[in-house]
Amino acid sequence: MKILVTLKPVPNPDEKVKVREDGKGIVRENIKTVVNPFCEIAVEEGLRIREAHGGEVVVLTVGPRESDQQLRTALAMGADRGILVEAAGDLDSLAVAKVIAKVAAEEKPDLVLNGKQAVDDDNNQVGQILAALLSWPQATFVSKLEPDMGCRKAKATREVDGGLETIEVPLPAVITADLRLNEPRYASLPGIMKAKKKEVKLVPVASLGVDTKPKVRVLSLTPPRQRSGGRKVADVAELVSLLSNEAKIL
């Protein structure tokens, strides 16, 4: 089974971020770039499927040359090879999906695994657009995945509002990983050393012949309002009174 897993480099979500002075982005200096946690889950799922059914896990990212580092992380976890589509500047979801579609057309995987969304801008679009571009079935927010190579289909359990939904998709398909799909492994030290020797193919974005001009522009970013501290109330009566008189929501 051939699995194509995409991953997005994002600023480390555990660090404090500051909005850039022009308001169009965040200050990236001194902030580490890491693999988007949902993409890491997708990589892990790919590895588990390969371990159970055999095959190959190919990891793909789109971005500047330094994104090679995030591919190396996935290779150290155990992925077989990497593809880096080199592109400068921020690409919007449509452009990224077009690039992935192009690579998928060439690699012909049985499965494309994406993270359900990236923790930087939380767009939650690439998987869906990609499935549409490829005319493949999709299962998003997946918390359990059971591929059946013999029948060329996969059973996917999706986390939907109010519960779980289990669907079946024929392969090839696009799957996006939710938080509870698995717990990704750490890259082991021997894995890190082996990853050094694994292939990462560099593909200039221009060579793919896709239009990556952004359709979405960021107008401005604002940090969330600082939360003011909470207050303790003595009893229900006081709570009701505050809610109706001060907060005016009753």
């Binding site: 404090k16 580092q69 750490y186 082991s188 030290l189 894995g191 890190i192 050393m193 990853a195």
Partner: protein, 594 residues
């Protein structure tokens, strides 16, 4: 890798000018090394830290499981040779792992005892058969290792050990008798490296399995800190150890004991640097959170100064440890791996830097001590309460100035080894001391060139070395080889030498990385260098004066004091602004900033 780096001798930094491109800095780490650091960090954050409370309450089964988990990730095989399944990575890599494993002291100590003094003697001195039998088990964590040198009545005086070994009548076993004390991993280790004297004379190392007849760990000690680690005595009563389990040569146990300690000291330096970074982050976070008089306490100069002093000392600590790891790596890289006496040469390569290893142990553990003290202070009353990590950091710190050779023993080693090597003609200490005295007698009007980065600090560095040399020279001339009995003077000389190595590591690193740094980082670097250089100049001045007062009197003393005054002068104009800058960057980032 091809390298044109100059290889300096151990202790040579005191008489030579070291070039910035010859030092290794953390900025030189490769992508793989950074990944390895990340794996270590993730493992500690994800699996060790959530279990601190259980571990503090002596859940040793959990401790063993976590050590095995570290083994699965490859963290126990960094120093082991490839032919036995290890990764055989550089010392710098091994130090990086030691630094990142540090956030929980109890685990860090168990880990270090296993991978360091527990495993390395076998790697360095084990026979092929011994390594085949044990090493594979140790690097996967299937077995846990411990090192048993100390006894109830012999700590610093390690060779005064009373434990004995006697050959059994059939010549197949040694029968070991005695008690080993303060054994880290004592209660659950599977393999102990035990030092005992054959026939009460020949100090020898033995590989002792826990299941051997007559081997029993004693009761768990109740400790001040690192409570999650196991510390017990090991009681040997006619313990039957097969003759093939003698490690290294009979009567050469001291070599094994002390060489393991050199690496152990360097590793401890890396480890405490990591612990200090962790404690520092706690302090800075709290300074932002805690409000008094209506504002976060981090806005007050009193707190900012603490933060700045800690940040600068941490930068020095980190610069020093990795510089030394790099020095050892460069030296070891010159040894041909195919040579039959590889580990003999390897040992010599590490032993060459015994002075610097002692320096790393003392300096970095002293920095941690200052940091945890100030972090408790920043927390105020809450620093005294167990609810915040500051309290545990404070208790866990203390042991670092005691084990792997007390800081006093290590400080005495610094001038001790230096003078010995000078006597053997390996380091031109006398010649350079004469030059320094000459310079002291000649008035100097040299002005540092302000347009060169860190010109003032580089001038200071060269002067501090002169200050050390004139005082060390005076003491050596006066006491000759009796100086080994003048411990107060040796300690003062050590303090000067240690601070010189630290400030040199700091300045060279800053100089090396300044070019590629952003504006913000440049100002942080300049601030850290100024703050630490000021501190180090004062420390060297104090230590040198102390040594001068101890060793000299009359005109000689007056002359020496004049020289010290001149050689420790440092214009730290802008010091206050530097401290504020440094503190503000740290408060903004809420962590160690370099």
């Amino acid at each position: 890798m091809l390298t044109t780096k100059k290889i300096y001798k151990g202790g040579e930094y005191l008489v030579a000018e070291v070039a910035r491109d010859d030092v290794f800095t953390p900025e030189d780490f490769s992508e793989e090394q950074m990944q390895l650091a990340e794996t270590t960090e993730q493992f500690v954050a994800g699996e060790v830290l959530p279990n601190v409370e259980k571990l503090e309450n002596h859940d040793f089964a959990l401790m063993v499981r976590l050590l095995r988990r570290a083994g699965e990730l490859g963290l126990l095989m960094i120093d082991a040779p490839e032919e036995y399944g290890g990764l055989e990575l550089s010392k710098a890599t091994s130090m990086l792992a030691a630094e990142k494993i540090s956030p929980y002291g109890g685990f860090a100590v168990a880990f270090s005892a296993h991978t360091g003094i527990g495993t390395l003697p076998l790697v360095f001195y084990g026979t092929k058969a011994q390594k085949e039998k044990y090493l594979g088990k140790l690097i996967t964590g299937e077995w846990i290792a411990a090192y048993c040198l100390t006894e109830p009545n012999s700590g610093s005086d390690a060779l005064g050990a009373k434990a004995t070994a006697a050959l059994s009548p059939d010549g197949k076993y040694y029968l070991l008798n005695g008690t080993k004390q303060f054994i880290t991993n004592g209660s659950f280790a599977d393999l102990y490296t035990v030092f005992a004297k054959i026939d009460g004379k020949h100090f020898t190392a033995f590989l002792v399995e826990r299941t051997f007849e007559g081997v029993a760990p004693g009761a768990e000690e109740k400790k001040m800190g690192i409570k999650g680690s196991s510390t017990t005595p090991l009681i040997l009563e006619d313990a039957k150890v097969p003759v093939e389990n003698v490690l290294g040569e009979i009567g050469k146990g001291h070599k094994i004991a002390f060489n393991a300690l050199n690496v152990g000291r360097l590793k401890l330096g890396a480890n405490v640097t990591g612990a200090a970074k962790g404690a520092f982050a706690e302090g800075v976070k709290y300074a932002n959170l805690r409000k008094q008089f209506g504002v976060p306490i981090g806005t007050f100069g009193a707190i900012k100064e603490k933060i700045a002093d800690m940040a600068a000392a941490l930068f020095a600590s980190e610069s020093l440890v990795y510089r030394l790891a790099g020095m050892i790596d460069d030296r070891l890289a010159t040894i041909d791996k195919g040579t039959p006496d590889y580990y003999e040469a390897y040992q010599q390569g590490i032993e060459e830097y015994a002075i610097e290893c002692a320096i790393a142990k003392v300096f970095c553990s002293d920095v941690l001590a200052r940091v945890v003290d100030e972090v408790v202070q920043i927390h105020g009353g809450y620093g005294f309460i167990q609810e915040y990590p500051a309290e545990r950091c404070y208790r866990d710190e203390r042991i670092n100035r005691i084990f792997e050779g007390t800081n006093e023993i290590n400080r005495i080693l610094v001038p001790g080894i230096l003078l010995k090597r000078a006597l053997k003609g390996e380091i031109p200490l006398q010649r350079e001391a004469m030059k320094a005295i000459e310079a002291m007698m000649t008035p100097s009007f040299d002005e540092a060139d302000g347009s060169v980065p860190f010109a003032a600090e580089k001038a200071l560095l060269s002067n501090l070395k002169s200050a050390f040399l004139v005082v060390a020279g005076a003491a050596a001339r006066k006491y000759m080889d009796r100086i080994k009995d003048e411990q107060e003077i040796l300690l003062a000389l050590a303090d000067a030498a240690i601070n010189i190595f630290a400030v040199e590591s700091t300045v060279l690193r800053a100089e090396k990385i300044l070019g590629g740094a952003s504006e913000g980082r440049k100002s942080a670097l300049a601030a850290a260098v100024k703050v630490f250089a000021f501190h180090a100049a004062e420390e060297v001045s104090k230590a040198a004066k102390k040594a001068a007062f101890y060793a000299e009197e009359g005109d000689n003393l007056t002359m020496l004091l004049g020289g010290i005054r001149r050689f420790t002068k440092y214009d730290a104009s802008g010091l206050l602004q530097a401290k504020r800058t440094l503190a503000e960057i740290a408060l903004e980032a809420e962590r160690y900033i370099f």
